[in-house]
């Protein structure tokens, strides 16, 4: 594989849920050291896209090439090996509720590596330090705030030193300060870990703060992609409406959602 080849190549991805098309020919690349923000309205298939990349869902057709291997065509064991190079931070953090913070972080290390207990403890401490959460080590996820859980989720995604980190709505449910904190954490991760990031979001200030490149997902496909500056001055009416957050435009509500004035 050449040095310039993208880390992740998604080509013509199609996926249906209960017969309805969610992704319909979705195509994009993620380069090394890149932070790609995937934008799109609620229900546009952004989270589904991350689940397809991680192999939790299988696509109807299309390819997801990661390090030159098609993840969609791998057997479970090969896929599990590839997954160790991809970390994911879920929307609600998805920490295992019955385990403490330290146990959550140690879980993939214990289950998937041969590291001795002392080394696992050191890795857990280092990753908790990275997100500034070492003091929560012995707490259960239920004892933490939403923002703290998100940070722990980030730390857990980092323990196996992934090359690609997927963020599903990292700012959802957080106040503006918490959102900025998570954004800054994502920015520092790029510098410290050299991992590429794919951030799914519909929070525009957050997307502009984080992204080195953006892609707009609309009707199952990438409608426009480019640097953040290009999105600010986009001529596409869908992108312009989404970036500005206007109610008038092609991104109208579904008739069932409309309320009488």
């Amino acid at each position: 594989m050449s040095a310039a080849a993208p880390l992740l190549q998604v080509r013509d991805l199609r996926f249906r849920y209960e017969g309805k098309p969610v992704l319909d020919g979705c195509t994009f690349d993620v380069g090394r050291d890149e932070r790609l923000a995937i934008l799109g309205a609620s229900g546009s298939g952004k989270s589904t896209l991350l689940r397809l990349i991680l192999g939790i869902l299988r696509p109807e057709s299309g390819t997801i090439r990661f390090e030159d291997r098609d993840l969609a065509g791998l057997r479970t064991e090969e896929l599990n090996a590839a997954r160790q190079k991809i970390g994911m931070v879920f929307q609600g953090a998805a920490l295992i509720s019955s385990l403490t913070v330290a146990e959550n972080l140690a879980l993939p290390l214990k289950e998937l590596t041969d590291k001795p207990a002392k080394e696992i403890d050191d890795v857990v401490d280092a990753k908790l330090d990275l997100v500034g959460m070492r003091r929560t080590k012995d707490q259960l996820p239920a004892e933490l705030s939403g923002g703290m859980r998100k940070r722990i989720g980030v730390a857990r995604a980092l323990v196996l030193e992934p090359e690609l980190i997927l963020f599903d709505e990292p700012s959802s449910g957080l106040d503006p300060v918490g959102t900025t904190e998570i954004d800054e954490l994502i920015l520092t991760l790029g510098e410290r870990t050299k991992a590429s990031c794919v951030v799914v979001t519909h929070n525009m200030p957050s997307a502009f703060r984080i992204a080195t490149r953006m892609a707009m997902l609309h009707e199952g496909a990438v409608l426009e992609e480019g640097p953040p500056e290009a999105f600010r001055s986009s001529k596409n009416p869908v992108v312009r409406q989404f970036v500005a957050g206007d109610t008038d435009g092609p991104l109208g509500r579904e008739p069932d959602d409309e309320r009488p004035a």
Partner: protein, 259 residues
């Protein structure tokens, strides 16, 4: 009727795939020279399914043993055959009621807990997170629960048999003037080894049925809290029905083979 049959067949094939997937994940781990399941989680589940169920299984079996001895004893007394009460209680529980009662209690208690726990983990994306890390949710979450259920059912079934015999002995002492020592002798005279084996093998099967159905329903839960509630109800109904159906099937086979 056609659609129902199709749905039932789909359900059965989903359960078969679920079991096959769990075994495959365990074997994959063995091939990488690792334990096929997380041992501390397995022991935690055996504690919850086994030790945690002892009081309820013992209490219910004690009462049922008391009632069985009382009702049967009054009928037999008319014929002057009260001394058959110990044998009746011993055989009915060792071959049939001990395993069945334990199956129903565990389905309602531990099976419901399995479904609710795994269902909540599924809808809160915890199962996706485990899968996304490449850990294998079936091996990590399902295998310890199913195996604990399979191994604990026979043990609990022995507890049930002993509690029912105690109940029978109490009634026999008070109502029919049969001493505890004589009750014990009559019990030993009536017990046949194959009845005990039949009860134990049936309870192993019940453990497998309960564990697989409860975990499958939990992992397949959707639509948030209401989905978890529906999955739990469905899990208990399906487990209890399947345990009784399996018991009937086992009895038909055993009668054909032995009688």
């Amino acid at each position: 009727m056609g659609n129902r049959t199709l749905a039932a067949l789909e359900g059965l094939s989903s359960l078969a795939w679920f079991v096959a997937g769990t075994v495959t994940e365990m074997l994959g781990h063995v091939r990488r020279r690792r334990a096929p399941l997380h041992l501390s989680l397995f022991f935690e589940q055996t504690r919850r399914v086994g030790v945690g169920s002892i009081p309820l299984v013992a209490l219910v079996s004690l009462f049922l043993g008391l009632t069985t001895a009382l009702l049967v004893g009054y009928q037999l007394r008319r014929l002057g055959a009260e001394e058959s009460v110990p044998g009746f209680v011993a055989v009915s529980f060792s071959r049939e009621l001990g395993a069945l009662l334990t199956g129903i209690v565990v389905a309602a208690r531990s099976g419901a807990a399995f479904t609710a726990e795994l269902g909540t983990m599924t809808v809160s994306e915890e199962v996706d997170a485990i899968e996304g890390m490449g850990i294998g949710p079936l091996r990590f979450l399902v295998a310890p629960r199913v195996l604990a259920s399979v191994l604990m059912l026979p043990s609990l079934s022995v507890v049930s048999n002993l509690a029912a015999l105690l109940g029978g002995a109490l009634v026999s002492r008070v109502e029919f003037d049969i001493s505890f020592r004589y009750f014990g002798l009559l019990t030993l005279e009536s017990l046949v080894q194959r009845d005990i084996w039949a009860g134990l093998v049936k309870s192993l099967l019940f453990g497998l049925i309960i564990g697989v159905i409860a975990c499958y329903k939990g992992i397949a839960a959707t639509r948030g809290a209401i989905g978890v509630g529906l999955a739990t109800t469905s899990s208990v109904v399906m487990s209890v029905t399947s345990v009784i159906a399996c018991d009937t099937l086992c009895n038909i086979v055993l009668v054909r083979v032995w009688e």
